[in-house]
């Protein structure tokens, strides 16, 4: 209704919004812009705001780089394994917490589990660095999988608890009444309903493992290399091949973004640790 008097505030608001959009979008634009340039053009000072000679060669070079390919492979193995483990074990516990909070150990136990995720990773890194070193497990898939599993599990438990909690238990009870055994009732009624939430937990766990840098930097790096470790190596001599770096980051950020667009309702819930109802 009559908002004419607020038009000044409105205008300021719109200007503010546009500024923020530019602030967020420009680096992404620059990343794309750079990834389509030849290295000569990248090094030009001042830089060009649009590729003069549009090229896909940075992407091709990155894809043909054996180390980059290996790192993607390693990243996939590690992130997929941890994700499956975390979601499986997390769903069991989440279900128990949601349906039988008292018998499952109660609110304190579930909050304790979540708090493991919230501890600064640095607290865990040094001890594990020490053990894995002594056991000869550094630079293996195992070391990273254990760490990522530990960090993802609390989130998985917590979110699955929330998603199961959203489904009224009456639905399952109706299925018992209709003659299903509890186990069948779970698969027939509850699982299909919780599936989108579960998929989003899969994605969040996967993104964490996919993006993680610190543990990887400390625990692996020679035989096993996840892709965040590879990025600084796109260099010729002492100068960085920014076009390849940017091309590689574009490739690496696409999967999480696409997943977010598809599953945003549930992802927002997950990113806010379950606070926001989608």
């Amino acid at each position: 209704m009559s908002q004419k008097r607020f038009s000044l505030i409105r205008t300021l608001g719109i200007i503010f919004m546009i500024t923020y959009i530019v602030f967020i979008a420009f680096p992404i634009y620059w990343q794309l812009n750079t990834s389509f340039k030849h290295i000569g053009e990248v090094r030009k000072i001042p830089p060009t705001f649009f590729p003069k000679h549009f090229t896909l060669s940075p992407y091709i070079n990155v894809m043909n780089n054996p180390m980059a390919r290996k790192s993607i492979y390693d990243s996939l193995i590690i992130s997929i394994t941890t994700t499956l483990l975390s979601v499986l074990i997390g769903s069991l516990a989440g279900y128990a917490f949601a349906r039988y909070p008292k018998y499952a150990g109660g609110e304190n136990l579930s909050f304790w589990m979540l708090s493991v995720r919230m501890f600064p990773p640095i607290v865990f890194i040094l001890p594990f660095f020490f053990i894995f070193n002594n056991l000869g497990l550094t630079d293996t898939y195992f070391s990273l999988i254990v760490m990522y599993f530990t960090f993802n599990l609390p989130l998985s438990v917590w979110l699955m608890m929330m998603f199961f909690g959203d489904i009224p238990r009456e639905l399952e009870e109706a299925a018992y009444v209709d003659g299903y055994k509890p186990f069948r009732a779970f698969f027939k009624v509850t699982l299909p309903l919780v599936l989108p939430g579960m998929v989003s937990v899969v994605m969040l766990c996967w993104i964490f493992a996919w993006n993680e840098f610190l543990f990887a930097n400390v625990l692996v790096g020679t035989r096993v290399k996840t892709f965040p470790l590879v990025i600084p190596t796109f260099a010729s001599g002492s100068s960085i091949l920014w076009n390849q770096v940017m091309a590689f980051t574009v490739i690496a950020m696409l999967p999480p973004i696409i997943l977010f667009i598809i599953l945003r309702r549930y992802m927002i819930r997950g990113l806010s640790l379950g606070v926001v109802k989608g």
């Binding site: 680096p27 930097n217 927002i268 990113l271």
Partner: protein, 301 residues
Amino acid sequence: MSRKGEDILVKRYVPFLLVLPAFIVLFSVTIFPTIWSLYMSFHQYNPIIGKPVPVGWKNFNYILHWDRFQNSVVHLFYYLLFGVGIEMILGITVALLLYELIKSEKIRLLLLVLFIIPMMIPPSIVGTLWRFLLDPFSGVVNTILSMLHLPVVDWFGSKMALASLIIADIWEWTSLPLMIIYSGRVSLPQSVYEAAWVDGASQWTILRRITLPMLKELIAIALIIRFMDAYKFIDKVTVMTQGGPGGASELPSYLAYLVGAQQFNMGVASAMTWIIGLGSIIVIMLFVKFMKKVLKSQKIA
């Protein structure tokens, strides 16, 4: 529970069994590091040189008087004040503006996706990207500054290094409070606003007396989540500045990482992680408190 006959509730141990695997994993994985680092905190130990030697409180004493650590705490304070502070204010403002100014669902979604992108990019890559953007000689930011006839900035010099880290962090994480507040705003009932208009409240009063109070738990949670992440802030430091120049952008976690994983001074590093851990426990407890509030209010509503 009052149901009779065949009932999975009869078997009380089933829920416990379901929780057990998660519990065992988390307990065993956390208990060892806790004991180990507590033990090491009171020892001097470098795995390359020799065995742990007990030193009492010396490590703690050393850390608390170590100027590099003190500086890193000051940096953390700056980071919380300016980084997290700006992220919160910016996030809340943009979230509410997004809701008020843009009525088309499609455009809102488009913008949300755009705002989310920085959070989806691996943090180390965010660091890499901003190092590229802020490069003092060939970076596009300085290019734009000089095109506008503004003085160029030495982004990774001792004066600006911490600020550059903070800028990159704001870019990456403002979307988190933004998203939480936006989702909260969307779920506030329209009818309450109608009542406020009829009651004669001005836009400013509505913001101050209706919107912000109704969102206050969510704002607290968003703030706490960002606070917690502050202790994890290592990736970007490693990629962008390595704490430099001359320690100008060191943060406590990064310092502990340097001392432990690079200089192998496990005693001092462990003591430092304990100090950091205790700091974060306070934040975690705050989080739990507000989380319970939010969960309760969601169940009522």
